[in-house]
Amino acid sequence: MNLRGIFAIYHFEMSRMFRTVSQSIASPVLSTALYFIVFGSAIGSKIGNIDGVNYTSFLVPGLIMLTILNQSVSNASFGIYFPKFSGTIYEILSAPISPIEITCGYVLAAASKSVLVGLIILITSAFFIEITILHPFWMLLFLILMSITFSLFGFIIGIWANDFQKIQLIPSFILTPLTFLGGSFYSISMLPDFWQKLSYVNPIVYLISSFRWSFYGNSDVNVVVSISATFFFLVLCMVFVSWIFKTGYKIKT
């Protein structure tokens, strides 16, 4: 096992984050704080409680998840796409490091950044909003698991993309709409019957729901189903990444 190789990639990616701290950390934290102000304090005060939870507090898990998913995908996709774009990928491909080790380096770095941003948002919001975490272990587990899963997804996007536009394509046109419609800002039970049923097709619903459950004990869907769905997506991404490296898809000519 080339542990030093994994650490080299991890360290390189984390250094990049600390070099661009305003973009990597300050920007997502500020965006989320704006959501809290607009949807929580301004509009939220007119909404009242949802499932027995104050709306501003209700928003916290959804907004953290929204940030986590976007950050994981963008960090990992940029992390692997940029060496392809700049040509420095040659060094990774000619090093004695296996595909799994390469993936570990990039994905763990992207996931670490997301977890860090998620925790900063959580801690910051705790100063202004009343937050309860009924299941802290599960909350942390979900946070890490979803960061890893979506970092893997982002890694796949980064390999598939052959220009900067494609890196934004799936996050902008698929992931963000699904997250917004996945219960980040509302409970699925608030929707009319038809839209409720349609929402259950959206995989993000299960992720947000289980994460919110770890905070307040309320869930739109069964938690076991949510965890299973997350694991299924994780395994699916791993299988796809293995195939990419086995075939050299979009990496080797």
Binding site: N2, L3, R4, G5, F7, A8, I9, H11, F12, S15, R16, R19, S86, G87, T88, Y90, E91, I92, L93, S94, A95, P96, I97, S98, G248, K252, T253
Partner: protein, 303 residues
Amino acid sequence: MIAIDIKNLNKSYENGLKALKNINLSVRSGEIFALLGPNGAGKSTLINIICGISKKTSGKVTIFGKDNILDYKFTRSKIGLVPQEIATDSFEKVINTLKFSRGLFNKVPSYEYLSFILKSLNLVTKKNNQIRTLSGGMKRRVMIAKALSHEPKILFLDEPTAGVDVNLRKTLWNFLNKLKKNGVTIFLTTHYIEEAENIADRIGIINNGEILITENKKKLIEKLGEKKIIITINSSHNKLSYITKKYQLKKNKNKLSYIYNSKKNIDLSASLLSDLVKSSVKIDDIEIEKSNLEEIFLNMVEK
């Protein structure tokens, strides 16, 4: 000991282009091998396949006896690669990018060794600079330093001196000779015939994906080169026309040229001089010109 062994290597692209055609090549440990060829001849493709960056269509590549796909961790750990294009992490500091490269190859961090490399390539004063602030030549040195950061046994240099000034080119040649003395095998591709002529032990010529020849540099020049003897005479003589005909000399005013090609004829230069002396032809000057690698190269690829 054979460092690189390539057997029946082929590479075809999906569009039908055959980039490499049945390449067979061996490079001995500790030698400097230069692969010459025009643009698009297949030089970079060959290096990329050996190093694991491109996929082969068929054939076998072994590094110190191990297959470069089945035992890729072993083979790649022995190889350092300097690609043709300058590709660096612009915002990274020089020393950090070397640490990264060493780590990728699973080597224990060694500031002492990296300092030695920086010193050897005159990069010590630039070690804390971001790479983007360096000149093109300096960036090229950083790429060489990165390739050497894990103490490779084989160094691949894909046109290392393209666009580099004469001074740096000569510094690099000296450095490569030092590496050779330390037992590093060097495989370089180049456009500059002068480069191959100066530093290579053996030379290969590739064109249209085919290796045309691989030979010891001196032997190659002897074998395929021509020797021209230009004799300046001071007096004319009635036997001169006989000698000119006998040795198929070219006459230009008072200069007689005798061309000898080892592939085509026997060296009669000694006999020619003897005949001229016997005929009392007064000789003012004798010049010997040997063809250089450039002429041999052009002869082969332009056929």
